[in-house]
């Protein structure tokens, strides 16, 4: 797979490590009521779709940026690549 990095252009997927579903950005508030159940969902349960999947990749052997990649799990086709920082900012999670 070739990942079209927003800053660096096309890079071999070998340069990256994979974390998982991009929902991992939405870390719940550990101090809120019912945090135990929410964290169980967050840490252990996954949608695991066959088709489009938004996921976190880390450019470990590159610029060490985190990316959110939308990829088709049936064909491995990469549909879009964003900086995870931008995604988190849009969700109001980062300055």
């Amino acid at each position: 797979m070739i990942i079209n990095h927003p800053l660096l252009g096309p890079c071999d997927a070998q340069e990256f490590t994979y974390l998982g579903d991009a929902r991992l950005i939405d870390r719940p508030d550990g101090m809120a009521d019912g945090a135990e159940d929410v964290f169980y969902d967050y840490a252990y349960l996954r949608d695991n779709p066959a088709g489009q999947h938004r996921e976190l990749w880390f450019h470990e052997a590159g610029d060490r940026s985190w990316l959110v990649i939308t990829r088709n799990t049936l064909t491995h086709e990469i549909i879009s690549v964003e900086l995870a920082r931008d995604v988190a900012r849009k969700q109001g999670r980062s300055l």
Partner: protein, 416 residues
């Protein structure tokens, strides 16, 4: 029809006109006591033990394609019971014991070959860990033997013992481990289940569950609605897709694992070997091909094919361990879809929906588990209580902090 040497002789002399199909091809009935979704190794084994061991006579197996077309046809055929943890080892040892009697039980030649498995040791720390694992195995009634480098050299003289970075210091052997002809496992269980009255229904895709007031009443399929008192799901690889139809999210990600076969060679590799410093395992099939594999690709996938970096990584591991491999040509390679669970261990459990049962999360160790998985799932379906050796494989172990994490990797499925 019973298979025997006499039967082969008789058929050879009479033009092979007396062979009949090994299982029927029935139309689905409108109602069953128990429906198993998934005609792979685990589903067929479940149906077989339900009928034979638990005397359930109204059982169907639904398969969307053809039986044995999924992971039971796409693995590296290794059987072993060399686990450390209490939640796992008794289960896998039970499985290995079932493998040992499988062919007589099924009257089917599954080519069970106990040629031994050897996990190689490359460091002092690894020797300590393997000694501990071997002791754990022996405590649970399995066999284990710690070998020194000279003993390994006698059995596998062609390995790279003096690799500067990862010299071979010894190995943990399980002599009762080995390989099995994988397709024959599916066919043998299918034939056995069919002969006990189980309907095996191929080309019948489950498209939904009919759930009323928290009770599962049956399944919607491409061949109409089938009512069932109990439904068991055994579709590892696609567990999340099927259980999503019941509104469930699972502690599972689907990942692709690649496997490889070389051209056929004369016998060179007597048993199964695993490289302890990288991830590489290899055995030789009875046809002569070297069957080997390594790590999963590491990203979610349902594609049944992987990418080149992992192929390179596996080849590097193979060459580091077994330099002669470099002269061998690769014949074919393929990918299978693994249910990677959050702790690397499987789930055999009821769900919160009455009458709906789940078997999955086998990571890439499902093949060796086939007989015990079938037996324990049948036990659960027939008696509504977990089998003694599978009682740790509960859905709620993640919520309760009772993970069975052999590798100690935490909730990161691509590292198990």
């Amino acid at each position: 029809m019973r298979y025997s040497g006499f039967k082969i002789l008789k058929e050879a002399l009479s033009g092979h006109k007396g062979w009949t199909p090994a299982w029927r091809d029935p139309d689905p009935r409108p109602q069953y006591d128990i429906v198993i979704i998934g005609g792979g190794g685990h589903g067929l084994a479940t149906a077989y033990y339900l009928a034979r061991q638990f005397r359930q006579c109204n059982v169907a197996v639904l398969e969307k394609g053809w039986i044995g077309g999924g992971n039971v046809g796409r693995n590296t055929t290794i059987i072993r019971s060399n686990y450390l943890l209490d939640g796992n080892e008794p289960f896998y040892e039970f499985s290995l014991k079932l493998w040992e009697g499988l062919e007589q039980d099924l009257n089917y030649n599954a080519m069970v070959s106990q040629r031994g498995i050897l996990n190689l040791i490359h460091s002092d720390a690894q020797r300590d860990a393997f000694m501990r694992r071997g002791n754990g195995m022996i405590l649970h009634g399995a066999d284990a033997e710690l070998l020194g480098a000279d003993q390994v050299r006698r059995e596998y003289p062609f390995l790279n013992f003096d690799n500067a970075r990862f010299p071979i210091k010894g190995g943990l052997a399980q002599r009762r481990g080995g390989t099995v002809r994988h397709d024959a496992v599916a066919w043998g269980y299918a034939r056995g289940a069919d002969s006990h009255g189980v309907d095996i229904i191929q080309n019948c895709e489950v498209t939904g569950f009919r759930i009323e007031n928290g009770h599962c009443k049956g399944v919607e399929t491409s061949r109409g609605f089938i009512r069932a008192a109990k439904v068991g799901v055994a579709v590892a690889g696609n567990s999340s897709r099927v259980m999503a139809q019941a509104g469930m999210r699972l502690p599972i990600e689907s990942h692709v694992l690649q496997a490889f076969v070389s051209e056929g060679l004369k016998p060179v590799l007597p048993g199964v070997i695993t490289f302890g410093a990288g991830h590489f395992y290899c055995s030789q099939s009875d046809k002569g091909g070297l069957v080997f594999g390594g790590d999963i690709d590491g990203y979610n996938s349902y594609a049944q094919r992987g990418n080149l970096p992992v192929i390179e990584d596996v080849a590097e591991g193979g060459m580091a361990l077994f330099p002669g491999l470099g002269r061998v040509r690769l014949l074919r390679m393929w990918g299978g879809i693994m249910d990677m669970s959050m702790d690397g261990s499987p789930i055999i459990d009821r769900t919160h929906i009455q009458g709906l049962y789940f078997n999955g999360g086998w990571c890439y160790g499902g093949f060796k588990a086939t007989p015990a998985s079938g037996w324990c799932f049948a036990h659960l379906l027939a008696t509504d209580t977990p089998h003694d050796v599978a009682k740790a494989y509960r859905f709620d172990r993640f919520r309760r902090g009772r993970m069975i994490d052999e590798k100690g990797m935490g909730a990161q499925p691509n590292l198990h």
